[in-house]
């Protein structure tokens, strides 16, 4: 995925839902779902097709100032790969 040009967008089959049992967000799709931590939730919320991956990293740096850019972009890359792998991003294949 190209950081400067790809604008990740969630596939239509996923639905983000707050889970009051765990106080976390769940990303639901057929048969199963992913339980998201805070960072993952923040990333998912930015997968609207508006932002490039670089811009998503920028956003996160602003909210998690104490973490290095390298660390954040690695987290974003890894998480987007998980989503793409499961077919949860549009046109990511």
């Amino acid at each position: 995925m190209n950081y400067a040009t790809v604008r990740p967008r969630l596939s239509e089959k996923v639905r983000l839902r707050f889970d009051r049992r765990t106080d976390r967000y769940l990303l639901l799709y057929p048969e199963t779902g992913l339980e998201l931590n805070e960072t993952a939730t923040a990333i998912v919320r930015l997968c609207t097709g508006e932002w490039t991956i670089d811009e998503i990293v920028d956003h996160l740096i602003r909210s998690y100032g104490d973490v290095s850019r390298g660390e954040i972009s690695r987290a974003v890359r890894e998480f987007l790969a998980i989503l793409a792998d499961r077919g949860l991003l549009q046109g990511a294949a």
């Binding site: 839902r17 057929p30 048969e31 779902g33 077919g87 294949a93």
Partner: protein, 367 residues
């Protein structure tokens, strides 16, 4: 009280009725049963109670759920509860208009089952000319951008078609393809000699599926479920008894799996008489095989007990006569020889025409 377990999925078997006539269907289907189906309000209450208990996924299944004319309303109410709602259907009594309506009411995904890619074979197995209608239903789903799962129950007569199933799934742009081998329970167990593929069949099919899985990664999920007759260890049936799933059958009986009430000596309750939370926590049937206390030897001390929970209770009952024994599919189980001899028989027998066909769409075939 048992607060340790949270159900994630409710499998709502809305009806026993079905327009297909798979001759050896395990569902009771006479009209007397129809009268006993629980009503719309009860289902809505069950959805609410399930959501309160922690359920996030709802599978609407049957029989054929499209035969309930309150389906639109049920979908709408499920969606209002923010449940991820899957319709599990044969795709047969469906029109584009109805699917559009269901989509508008909030249906999240649809699963359509097929028996064969060869129209004539498929129709013979289903006992009705359904194949083209299923194809239409699949195309409608994708045109409505409704995520589509294509479900195939594999056995010896159709396993050779695996490449065709994959091609069909690609052709209709399915999101997910489940190639699930038959679970040999009920009628399938009686016909196991004709249905169980050989080890070579399975090996080949698994290789083809694995190749497709890699090739289609990110576009279509390909799931291949090996029959437990050819795995070393059993399946984690229902991901553990009373652990993640609740099945409510058309008459309102709440169960840990759709066959649990066929095990003698277990007691289950109806949603018409009890709150779902009370059933989930207190039902002696749900509690019977929960956790680790009940585990027999050698499961009791086995490292895999937290992975497979001793396997399938129904299989232990049907093959060993005691639901409290380890699933004989396990190579460590004392009763494993029954599986070995069935495998040996599959290796010997020539292709016997299959007279019996499995009903899919019960929402359990991949589990």
């Amino acid at each position: 009280m048992n607060n340790k377990y949270r159900p994630y999925t409710l499998i709502a078997e809305l009806t026993y009725r079905c327009p297909l006539h798979c001759p050896y269907c395990s569902n009771p289907s006479d009209l007397a049963e129809y009268g006993k189906e629980i009503d719309t309000d009860t289902w809505i209450r069950v959805f609410q109670e399930a959501e309160e208990l922690g359920v996030i996924q709802l599978n609407l299944t049957g029989g054929e759920p499209l035969l309930r004319d309150d389906l639109e309303l049920l979908v709408e109410r499920a969606r209002r509860l923010d449940l991820y709602t899957n319709l599990i259907t044969s795709g047969v009594p469906l029109t584009f208009e109805r699917l559009t309506r269901l989509r508008e009411r909030g249906l999240d995904s649809v699963q359509i089952s097929i028996q064969s890619t060869r129209g004539a074979v498929s129709d013979r197995l289903a006992g009705t000319p359904a194949f083209n209608r299923k194809l239409d239903a699949m195309r409608w789903a994708t045109s409505l951008r409704l995520p589509l799962t294509l479900n195939v129950v594999l056995h010896r007569e159709n396993i050779a078609e695996i490449e065709e199933f994959i091609a069909l799934a690609e052709h209709v742009a399915a999101d997910r393809l489940e190639l699930a081998n038959t679970q040999y329970l009920g009628w399938a167990l009686k016909n196991r000699h004709a249905l169980l593929p050989t080890r070579e069949h399975i090996k080949w099919a698994r290789t083809v599926a694995a190749e497709a899985k890699t090739r289609l990664r990110g576009r279509m999920e390909v799931v291949f479920v090996t029959p437990d007759y050819y795995t070393e260890y059993p399946k984690s049936c229902m991901e553990g008894w009373g652990r993640r799933f609740i099945v409510v059958n058309p008459e309102g009986l709440a169960l840990p799996c759709h066959l649990a009430h066929t095990i003698p000596g277990l007691q289950f309750e109806r949603v018409t008489q009890h709150r779902l939370a009370d059933i989930w926590r207190r039902s002696s049937g749900f509690n019977r095989f929960r956790g680790e206390e009940w585990l027999p030897d050698p499961c009791r001390t086995c490292d895999r007990r937290a992975i497979d929970f001793g396997g399938c209770r129904c299989q232990a009952f049907h093959l060993m006569g005691d639901a409290g024994l380890p699933d004989p599919a396990c190579t460590l189980a004392p009763g494993h020889h029954v599986i070995e001899s069935a495998r040996a028989q599959a290796g010997r027998s020539v292709s016997i025409p299959v007279l019996f066909e499995h009903r899919t769409g019960l929402g359990h075939s991949s589990r």
